[in-house]
Amino acid sequence: MAVAACSSSSSSSSPASTGSTSSASSTGSANVASSTTLPSTITVTSIQDLTGAVGPVGISTQDGMNLAVKAINSSHMLGNTQIQITYKDTQTTQSQAVAEASAAASTSVDAIFGPVLSTEAVAVAPIVESAKIPTIFTQAGGPGVVTPGGYVFRVTAPQSDYQPNLVKYLAAHNVKTVTMLYDSTVPTTAGIAQTTLPPLFKSAGISIKGSYGWAEGTSDFSSYATKVASEKPDAVGVEGITTEPSPVIIALRNAGYKGLIFGGTSFQAFTLQAAGQQAKGVIWATDFDQNSTDPTTAAFVKAYEAAYKGAPLDYAAEGYDAVYLLAYGLKDTTGTFSRTALQAGLAKAAKAGFTGALGHNVFVNQDLVEAGYIQTYTGSAVETISGS
């Protein structure tokens, strides 16, 4: 029972923490702990893509969520109230996601954690809004998912937030020409390559030599690599999902391209290890820094590694913070407990912000904003170059 009326409670979240309060700003200042009686169990349905094309993303998110739930429940952050999550699998199918969301909304669950895929989120968001059930998304970078003042919250900054730093980095390193390679069938990567980056490049004075999309399921990239290598740009951007980065990088190196390669969220130690030394020096922008010395993040990484025997991906960190947003929202809920009251509590908690696995989380209009970090790969490990 670590919650005193006026202390910031962010660090009591992770079991391995030493209890030092970390954040300086107004975390939890609106914590009026016992003005409402929360039900003894808060039930949440978490609709995730556990199988199918983005299965690994869903599973990672689930891992992060489970870790957070365990921490919150065992530390009695909410007093005698426990959070209970039931997981539903969308099988990476839009209609399944919609069916699960509608079903969940018509039961008595208190909140929903939404699916990560943009196409699914975009279809689910209107349903949960009209059903007035608080919903927290991770990833889900599509447009129109979050409506200010509505029931939807998102704990992943849209890509447009942390690409500017990446572009600045490129410009600072004398990159004048760029070629983009991206997965054209996935909205997130297609959006970054087609919509987000071009104007950023333009204002940084970087010209785009070429932009080529591949279709999902493409496995042979040698023709793309040949094309890119012949253009000899200063840098090549690779926007793919799950495990597409390594084959592309290997193909680029095999084709003789020796310049800088940069990427997006799918660049992690785990996805780059197949490319190994050939991926040395690649950089990317991400919202999660696992090397951070920030106590909350470090504690999260430690707990994750102990529980799951592997380093956490950013999806796990996002899932972790999504559950914590819920917890803070619950603490900020006043009056008779209901979904509407919870929505107000969440809005308050988001406005106040909190420190979680992703770092210091600031929300604008219920959507996470952050400048992100830039990381690089040494050939065997990930290093953070700069960050917020």
Partner: protein, 295 residues
């Protein structure tokens, strides 16, 4: 009623899949292995989405989409239906799979890889049930009528069918056209149900799902398609505990059905009923059974 509202979306999905399953069953019944109705399903969903954003009402959209799909199906039925068996299956499979690629490259007109969402029109479950009932009625009449019997003859022995005056070619185009029309209808309905369409759900997975519905239920009649659609849509719910092994279970069911119930569950049920009746009659009238006769 609580159960119903909680699972209403699943019920609606089942109804749409019933139409889609019937669209495959209709052609399989006459021996035409065409999977093209799924392509029309995709096109119908997108056409419906685009028209609805232009302000078209739902009924008009559905009528238009069904008719146009049927006409296009008839037009394409001519060159395509010349192909036999596996070649036709392949050609229609390719047709189904190329459409999402074209759609995801369609820029803002088709919404690109994200698709179109926020579709303004919707359909009520009651209207959906009515539409399914109408479809069943139409198809059952066709099945019972001259065309249905002709289809059966076609599947068993084409030359014989031809010699009896059945216009083989015309049968093929008609069943192809009906299949396309039903596919388009199902697509339009789907868009209105989920208020969003995207190219990401269309692929090998959906095709095998729908084929399984038609086969598992039994391709002899529309009833088989209905049973198959219901089972395949609801099986994941009932077997939720299987979790991540769902596909494996589904695959095993396919193999088992092909090995032991080639006419699907409906066929097995019919066999069961007829053998029961035979035993009843034999018991009552002391008609010597096969065993007794074979001395």
């Amino acid at each position: 009623m609580g159960y119903f509202t909680q699972n209403e979306v699943l019920f609606q999905q089942t109804l749409v899949y019933m139409i889609l399953a019937i669209s495959i069953q209709v052609v399989l019944r006459s021996g035409v292995v065409s999977l093209a109705s799924i392509g029309f399903y995709t096109l119908g969903a997108y056409a419906g989405a685009i028209l609805s954003k232009d302000g078209w009402p739902s009924f008009a959209i559905l009528v238009l989409v069904t008719l146009v799909s049927g006409l296009v199906g008839y037009a394409f039925g001519r060159p395509v239906a010349r192909l036999r068996g596996l070649y036709l299956a392949m050609a229609t499979l390719a047709f189904d799979l190329v459409i999402p690629i074209l759609l995801s490259n369609g820029g803002s007109f088709t919404g690109g890889s994200l698709g179109l969402y926020g579709i303004p029109v919707s359909i009520s479950t009651g209207a959906l049930v009515l539409i399914v009932v109408v479809v069943i009625y139409v198809v059952s009449q066709i099945e019972r009528g001259w065309m249905g019997r002709a289809s059966l003859a076609l599947r068993s022995d084409e030359d014989l069918a031809r010699s009896m005056g059945i216009r083989v070619a015309r049968e093929r185009y008609l069943s192809f056209a009906i299949s396309a029309a039903l596919g388009g209808l199902a697509g339009g309905l789907n868009g209105m149900l989920f208020r969003a369409v995207s190219p990401s759900g269309i692929g090998f997975g959906l095709i095998t799902l729908v084929l399984a519905m038609a086969i598992i239920g039994g391709r002899e009649s529309w009833l088989g398609a209905i049973i198959g659609a219901y089972l395949v849509t609801w099986l994941p719910q009932w077997l939720g505990f299987i979790g991540l092994y769902q596909n494996l279970f589904f695959g095993l069911i396919l193999v088992v059905v092909m090995l032991f119930f080639p006419d699907g569950l409906l066929g097995a049920a019919r066999l069961g009923i007829s053998s029961l009746r035979r035993r009843q009659i034999a018991g009552r009238e002391q008609i010597p059974t096969g065993k007794q006769m074979a001395t």
